[in-house]
Symmetry: C2
Subunit: 450 residues, 2 copies
Amino acid sequence: MLTTEDNLKKHQIHGIEKGTEPPSQIAKQLNQQYETDIGVFFAEVAKLPLEILCKVLFELPSHVFEETLSRIPHKKMATALSYLTSDDLTDFLQRVKQYDQNYAKSTYHLLAPDEQAEVAHLSQFPADQAGAYMQMEMLSAELTDTLAHVKQQVRAFRREEPNSPIYKLFVVDAEQHLVATLHFTDLLLFDERNTMQEIIAQAVIHHHKPLSVHNSTPIEKVIHLFEEYELSVIAVINDEEQLQGRIVFEDIYDLIRMQEQSQALKMAGADKDAEEESLESARKARLHWLFINLAALLCAVFVVNVYKETIEQIVALAVLMPIVAALGGNVGNQAVTVTVRKIALGQIDWQNAFPVIKREIIMSSINGLIMGAIVSSITFIWFHQALLGLVIAMAIIINLAVAGLMGSMIPLLIKKFGGDPAIASPLLLTTATDAIGFFVFLGLAELILI
Amino acid sequence: MLTTEDNLKKHQIHGIEKGTEPPSQIAKQLNQQYETDIGVFFAEVAKLPLEILCKVLFELPSHVFEETLSRIPHKKMATALSYLTSDDLTDFLQRVKQYDQNYAKSTYHLLAPDEQAEVAHLSQFPADQAGAYMQMEMLSAELTDTLAHVKQQVRAFRREEPNSPIYKLFVVDAEQHLVATLHFTDLLLFDERNTMQEIIAQAVIHHHKPLSVHNSTPIEKVIHLFEEYELSVIAVINDEEQLQGRIVFEDIYDLIRMQEQSQALKMAGADKDAEEESLESARKARLHWLFINLAALLCAVFVVNVYKETIEQIVALAVLMPIVAALGGNVGNQAVTVTVRKIALGQIDWQNAFPVIKREIIMSSINGLIMGAIVSSITFIWFHQALLGLVIAMAIIINLAVAGLMGSMIPLLIKKFGGDPAIASPLLLTTATDAIGFFVFLGLAELILI
């Protein structure tokens, strides 16, 4: 197996020296140690520098995180926590709270008063609001401040928050309302004695009102803004429209991944949050989905039950019916996945759905013709019954065309009525293609063959 | 329906003024116009400012893009293209080339010589290498340059590349080897007469060798680096280890989404690139998948065929067999999706797979017991046969346990042997759960009921 160093060399990644691995890498190595020798694991954790301790712990799997927690004295933890930005600090304490409320409480009381205030403030925002992802550490200046003053602030910020990058300067008026967002590249070009007011009057780059979001803005909207406007940072304001904090691009990387993954898991009937918790909560979330699926399956098998006597007479129908249903499910699933993605990307809604539905029906009909021809040939060779081949061809053509229609319409309809297309679409789709597949195939068989 | 403005207001997003919508928004509105009144559409496109023309065009669906292209004179297009950064310019011309090779060629020859050189250089990198995502516009300084010189360069860069943000300063030695990456925030604190050499000697923030990647580094590795090190920009170097360009965070947003989406589509048997091209190429990619699925389905139905006579005697088996197979498919699909994600995130590989496989088997076995009990009760109530209820309960318990095992092992094995777990896993899984489900259910039925 390649070592990290070999791997970096192979891919020509330069500048990563030993000891500067990112927290996720260190956590991965520690986790392997946990599996092989728990004693070495705890010794290594104890040796971790305080600056990165919390970041590494955060990357450990739940059960390892929980077990490690109790081995770290509150005082040490409080010091390690002070190296985190306010948003990460709040996140960390909230996760600790899930496992050990007392530990979280004791550690919280050992934090500096300003850190306590920040945690208390940020904890109030639910996970789907911008406020929950805001850092309160940032650099801002008033309109009347000179560039010399800003330089002093940069020095102080670098000293107090060595782990917090700066990115941009937020300029506010006397009431703390955001007036401008300035690049440091631009600031470099001005004289120390210039005030922010004077600089804004001259700077030609940012003449628009700077972008900002409210702390209750849905986080999805914020992610969308970062992507559309290619932002590196955005200001967060409160009810009085005063500057409160900032959201930075590095959190957006995570958020985009999380958004996509939670959608992919939802489509498979698993819940992202539950999967990251205990086996029990993951299992229950999945069981829930199986119940709903069973109910849907019963609808499909009731259709089969109607044609019991037909199957008794031609048992080949029982052999072939899974093909009709499963091909419909596959085609429908392709359409559902593509459509759910298009909806999530904001490319389509019910108003401009027609071209998409048309496209899906055309595709699935052509593929239905091809698959119908192939399966009917196989059937004929296998069972030597021309009419049975005809029946299965017709059933496949009809079921696949319907699958294309349903696969594109179901997600759009669910979206129109305010539901989440990723959750319900795959289920409704399979139920439809199973039931219709069985009905068309067995129904045609009864009509034509008996 | 809400207008954009109402929507911004509702979500408390501030600072977006009329006329400053991002290209994707403008493209969406234009696309609606294309559907309703193509005349208005072309009039609107003609009125688009040259600075954003190409960015807007790029966001249009393929068929609209293609049709619009021919209406824009080469000269106008060449001017509009010069507002793009080198990477976007290269991308754009490559897309144009797909539809109209002559148009791309004529436009290319109207570009400025330096732009032509950049396009020629960047076009040589395949889409999976860092070089293809590199911008050649950037700000760099030599060790002997003074800060005053850098300031002049910033002014020049702002003038020549008004749409290209700066982020960081790359410092190189006389051979163009990367020596340091400096924040402008830090540069602000130094005197004009300081050279880069002197500044680096003093700056305490970045004492490590700066991160860089080679232009042939796989783009996945680059994305990974951005996420792990929370980077905003990374330097790209050539075979001689000289600074060549940079990759910036805003491209990473797109790349993360694309990575996740192409994986989700792959799992459903659709190809992301093909889906974005013509209906024909999307359809063919999907048909390909259906062929493979059919082959797999045939394996499963051959199992049913073995038990033809058993089904003839107890037709309830034909009615109930889809339940056993489909529940197995669902449970296995949950395990596959979760495992494929974990592999993609680099959380597990074959070496440390045991805990994951164990977890999946435990979950699916417990859920199997529950589902087995429920389905056997339903069967008993429906068909009044205690033994049939017993058979289906046993079949479900076995098939679901196997589904958990297969669902976690298949992706890990595919990965171990160098394949892409997202492509083959769902198919192999369903084949396994179908075949095993039919075999166990019908086999037990023959043993116990006949």
